[in-house]
Symmetry: C2
């Protein structure tokens, strides 16, 4: 094949919400699409906290990328780790030295935890919730805490084992704290003989004056009330100042309170994938914000390059009002679709589309059994109906049909029996 | 409570088939039952190979012990590791220094892999299939091999990546080899663009002249034919002499053949849990066989002690014909039930039961989709009907109702679509 007629090569980095929606929307693209990811599956992150609390299995919220793109013959998948970019030669560089040429590059690497400069110190004691390994590790820690308490004759120690601290009052923190409280008060209620799991203390630490800051104030208040009702202590206007193996220190209005605990979950800060910085430097003259995101143009292109795009959690984009778009799945999905549409139009020689516009369909968070808050435009809802809507939408967005059935069955079962079917303590340190 | 009226304390070690059936059959026992296990779940080991090949999720074949014994108020569970026995003081010793007194002791610690004296050398390259961690590690290795082959430009390397060696032609080895062959030829058929997964080579190494040695010869022959049909190479009368990171050396009629491979699964030898030796030495005068099992009396008691029992894979017992009972789940279950019955009779002052008799209900093994062999008394079956029987019996014996539904649904789905829904590459080295 001569150079002139060679197929156009689109390289997409990241099989998350952004990269995958771009790849699947390019199914009619005349060319060769290569999707690169370190993992062999697409992860439905919004339900990770349910794996971390034993309600679902990892495979229920993960779909093999190769399964999804099985019949899309213009797409190839490479499971590998990208180490950099040569934008002059138009090549992606891999850790193992391999170089992959591209005509168009789409980077959607997502985000990771951020401990405000204390990463190395705090991470071992306060895992975040971004990967399946994070989720099974948190599950191990939460469940092991009850086991240790059951066999520890010392009352003070038992109290420490049964203290759980969740840092960060966004949707992940709220859902996680609610799920731990339910696990203790409902699922495990009759499981122990020495301890009463309901004695467990679940503290949610938030440094502003309300949980779910991105929601309307009335909904934050409702969510806070729901959390209190199921036994979560809300520590608002509080800041974590230290985390160690057996305690967390929290600044409460200037007083540093040390809470003995062995189980801290980090849901406070995220930073962009390091690929954002690499790409910004490779292209040159591109701004990086404090969270490590790279500024993109209104059509998701990077700097002066019409052939390089960035999107999702690692991209910094402002809407028409100058407000930053949030790092949530719908933004990434819509940006992925937008870029795919742009490339299809470009291939057909049609005019470029207008700037990307985020259609905010609303946001929701669930607080344990039968409770949720939902906000969509002017609609504000809380309680059972909001919870049903939450269920429905999450089932709908799960990638694979069989996962929908599996999740629906387990949710129904867990709802009816107050059980959680995937309460396994696994991992290399499971025998500790 | 005075010593005379104090509740009788039964301590059961091991939440596998033997220990758990003993514990649940003691639900009407007047006393205190303590079940000790390192893990928080009962594992349905016969289906582990399905986790290792991505057909089922770990939680589908594991049931939390606390869930199972939730309503049995005379039973308590301790998740901890036993380090020894003081049979004079009648105490179980734990790793953390804790000592637990018993009136009656039942030890059912199961078995682990055995590499014929090469444990340290071979284990890292040839994991066995005993725990959930083993299964997810094998799943990682099998799936990663295809990923490496897809991105490796070197033809010889690709061949190495796509070579799988299963050592041992018993039921586990046969089922594992069949499942890998099916994964390559059916599930992954359309998943890759550079390689053809059907090029994968699956070698089953067996040192005798037939697979499934414990079955009738006609069934071994059928199983062998089925394996060949789905693309498994049968290397009979062969012995593994060395295993390394990138090859396995096999003695074929005196010729040492080196097979380049990075994925070896060990299904050859098992040895008893080290607790068998500890218990034998603590009691004194008890025989230990080459596989590390301790000889027990006809009523499962150990040595001269009427208050100490051992059962399951770690116990050596002969039937009326002097034949050793096999290390399979039904033996352990029936022994557990037998010991529970004995203890209940003893408590009521009834006469001791006769010696334990194993009721062999038959055995079965499945070879990929729609094929199995089944032997029960004079009944010998193979093919589709045997496979349906295999499905039915395995669903029936799964411990929890919701697992039955989840497994049944996934099996139906996988059967209809030739898909495997849990094909995740996870674990700490997943990014390698």
């Amino acid at each position: 094949m001569s150079e002139a007629t060679a197929a156009h090569r689109v390289v997409i980095i990241g099989g998350g919400f952004g990269g995958l929606s771009c790849a699947t929307d390019l199914r009619k693209f005349q060319g060769r699409i290569t999707l690169i990811d370190r993992r062999n599956f697409h992860l439905f992150q919004p339900l990770l906290y349910q794996v971390a609390t034993g309600a679902l299995s990892p495979a229920n919220i993960a779909s093999p990328l190769r399964s999804i793109l099985k019949y899309q013959t213009n797409a190839k998948i490479i499971m590998s780790e990208v180490s950099g970019f040569d934008v002059t030669a138009k090549e992606v560089l891999f850790r193992d030295g391999y170089r992959l040429p591209f005509d168009t590059l789409v980077v959607s690497g997502g985000s990771t935890h951020h401990y405000f400069g204390k990463d190395a110190l705090w991470e071992p004691f306060a895992p975040g919730l971004k990967s399946l390994e994070d989720a099974t590790e948190i599950r191990r820690r939460v469940l092991s805490a009850f086991e240790r308490a059951e066999r520890d004759p010392d009352i003070a120690n038992r109290k420490k084992h049964l203290s759980f601290v969740v840092v960060g009052g966004g949707p992940t923190g709220v859902e996680m704290a609610g799920a731990i409280a339910e696990l203790a008060r409902q699922t495990l209620r009759r499981d122990f003989r020495t301890i009463d799991p309901a004695d467990a203390r679940v503290i949610l630490v938030e440094n502003s004056d309300r949980v779910l800051q991105t929601f309307a104030e009335t909904l934050s208040k409702r969510a806070g009330e729901s959390l209190s009702q199921i036994g979560v202590e809300l520590w608002l206007n509080c800041r974590v100042t230290d985390i160690a193996a057996d305690r967390v220190v929290i600044d409460r209005a200037g007083i540093h309170e040390s809470v003995p605990t062995e189980c801290v979950v980090w849901a406070a800060g995220v930073k962009a994938n390091p690929l954002a910085k690499m790409l910004a430097e490779a292209v040159g003259g591109v701004e990086i914000d404090k969270a490590g995101r790279l500024a993109v143009n209104a059509d998701c292109t990077v700097g002066t390059r019409a052939d390089i795009f960035a999107l999702g959690d690692m991209a910094l984009m402002k809407d028409a009002d100058g407000k930053q778009l949030p790092g949530v799945a719908p933004v990434a999905v819509q940006q992925g679709q937008y870029v795919a549409g742009l490339l299809l139009r470009r291939q057909k020689g049609q005019s470029a589309p207008g700037p990307f516009r985020y259609w905010d369909k609303g946001s929701m968070a669930t607080i344990g059994r039968s409770r949720a808050v939902l906000e969509a435009g002017k609609i504000k809802m809380s309680g059972f109906i909001a919870w049903l809507a939450w269920l429905f939408i999450h089932i709908l967005y799960l990638a694979r049909f069989e996962n929908r059935v599996l999740v629906l069955f387990q949710w129904s079962w867990n709802y009816a029996t107050r059980n959680r079917t995937a309460r396994l303590i696994t991992g290399e340190r499971a025998n500790r």
